[in-house]
Symmetry: C2
Subunit: 334 residues, 2 copies
DNA sequence: AGCCTTTCTGCCAGCGCTTACAACATCTTC
DNA sequence: GAAGATGTTGTAAGCGCTGGCAGAAAGGCT
């Protein structure tokens, strides 16, 4: 089933059918009707591969995320998708599960698909990959990694500042021994988030901190909490790298009979919807995921009216959101 | 950057480069080395569109789901993806958000991509779409909709049986007035799940039931619960169409000071990971999502050794999982 | 050395579509 | 009614890759 068959049925040339498909307004109305009819009768759907081969372009944007299971990534993805659709673009998604080989192959796949733009919402990004992407001439957006370059936009959240807000808040509640629950990708040598947390704590001499990490899942949060508590260190507050791990942590604490926030304060990060629905509702840090999604789409898909390129670097300052999972440390002694 | 440039650099023909790329073993080793070197130096990535155009096939399978935000769908997707990768296939995903226009356009898109196989894990599926898919000759798997046909496999969960188990269990606990929390896609005219629930209740004369529905999200579960309680009907147990909505329900109940399971029992469906992590942990019905994912992949991707087609219809009988969100109705009076 | 296999490599015809460019049809205008 | 402007459609040259076929190279024998 191809253009030619439709053309034959409508008694026109393939070029005309193509023109109808691409709604060029040059086609005479009577002809268009005939073609449309043929298309419908034949249930013809253009071969997208042929189309982008011939056209040289692809009206598809690629999105690569670390862990779609975490609603944080999903929320961003969703916004990108709906923006893209609104502008007539498709989006293909790839999930790396924090595995760098997976990242490499996903990026190659996207290049192979000749995507019109690529968003990398991943925590890990080798410099040579950035290099490769820059050379590919594809418009790219990175989240939280890399530096702005030609055809590369950067979005970053001031994670450090966010963690500082959390630490200051816990400190003000009287907490002195803090635990940090991270996820595996975060235990690498140069580890932004973990380091940010350590630094934020180090600013205040009276504080002590210890970290543990596991997979970026509910279960991982639970395991990391278990490991941290088993180490003998006795924190009065747990700073979790994100909300999902915090919910995992909550479960472990509950099973051990450790009351939150009575015996232990817990904080999340991201302000994912679930953080309001878990029990107790999480004190967390809001990252405006929809805003991020919009920025991604804006810098990838050139809008007709709008100015083509926004800032090559966008920095977002996250806000603390207070809920029920944190309280004064003193309560523990009571 | 294309085959020709690589060929020129390696001083061979494009056909030879193509052979190297597709690891045909006929290429002499010394030639292969030269070509590989050229490919790497040029950072060449084959154009996937050209490839599948020329080859006529696409080593890509499509997966369409109703709501990726619900981990139920995501778990299935994830299994399909990893199985597919293991067999050298890519997968492209589309999310319909329960919108039928979105379903239609996603299906057309998949056909346009000439996917090697298509999985539709969606609750809504118009008969004419099924017709269209059958004609497209693409191997298709439906979950919970449609009937087996040539080149169409069907997987269905005996939802009715699952709900019956829930109803019987609640009945045995002394509950007589039940609420059903559904989601919008489920309020259609012929509505399998809602109907199953009503029928399950109708089997037992002493039972009474009332339903409410909202979006398939945490928030939706909360709203539907609010609506149900506002109606004046006073159930002692809430049967939720899935775990996510149940967690939403839990929050509403908590905020109203209604104890679970003391004042109200709540059940979920699916046995998503979150159902263990919420508070209280949910009594639910397990649907083996990994198994479903494997079946999907098996019937879409012809394995070399294995027999090509499995059963055209697979029915899964789900199991009740007891946790902490359900208890005797009598307790309420205490 | 000469002939026959067995490898290996190059040539080229598509795959289905887009897009100049050319060709034809239809109007205008004087 | 002819020339020119305008509108509409057809022709054909690719887009980058694969795969069948045939020719070239290399190796094995007598």
């Amino acid at each position: 089933m191809n253009l030619e068959q439709v053309a034959r049925r409508a008694k026109v040339s393939t070029a005309t059918v193509s023109r109808v498909l691409n709604n060029a307004s040059v086609v005479k109305n009577s002809t268009r009707t005939r073609v449309v009819k043929a298309i419908e009768e034949l249930k013809y759907y253009p071969n997208l591969h042929a189309r982008s081969l011939a056209g040289g372009k692809s009206r598809t944007i690629g999105v690569i995320v670390s862990n779609l299971e975490n609603p944080f990534f999903f929320d961003i993805y969703k916004t990108i998708e709906s923006d893209a659709h609104a502008r007539g673009y498709e989006v293909v998604m790839a999930n790396t599960d924090y595995r760098s080989e997976q990242l490499v192959s996903s990026i190659r796949l996207m290049i192979g698909r000749r995507v019109a733009g690529l968003a990398c919402i991943v925590s890990e990004m080798a410099p040579e990959l950035i290099e490769e992407l820059e050379q590919s001439r594809i418009p790219v957006v990175f989240y939280d990694v890399g530096r702005p370059r030609p055809n590369i936009t950067n979005i970053r959240v001031n994670y450090r500042r966010g963690i500082e807000k959390v630490v200051d808040y816990l400190h003000s509640l009287g907490h002195r021994k803090l635990g940090f629950i991270g996820h595996h990708a975060i235990l690498g040598p140069i580890n932004e988030r973990m380091k940010a947390a350590m630094d934020a704590v180090a600013r205040i001499p009276s504080l002590e901190v210890r970290a543990a990490a596991d997979a970026d899942t509910l279960e991982g949060g639970r395991q990391a909490t278990r490991a941290l508590l088993a180490s003998g260190f006795a924190p009065t507050a747990l700073i979790c790298v994100n909300d999902i791990m915090a919910v995992g942590s909550l479960r472990e604490l509950r099973e051990r009979g450790i009351g939150v926030p009575r015996d232990m304060s817990v904080t999340g990060f991201d302000n994912v919807k679930l953080s309001e629905f878990c029990y107790p509702a999480l004190t967390t840090v809001d990252i405006p995921r929809e805003r991020i999604g919009h920025i991604v789409c804006d810098s990838l898909v050139p809008r007709p009216g709008k100015p083509p390129a926004a800032d090559p670097e966008v920095v977002i300052d996250p806000e603390l959101v207070l809920r029920d999972s944190t309280g004064p440390a003193a309560a523990r002694e009571a």
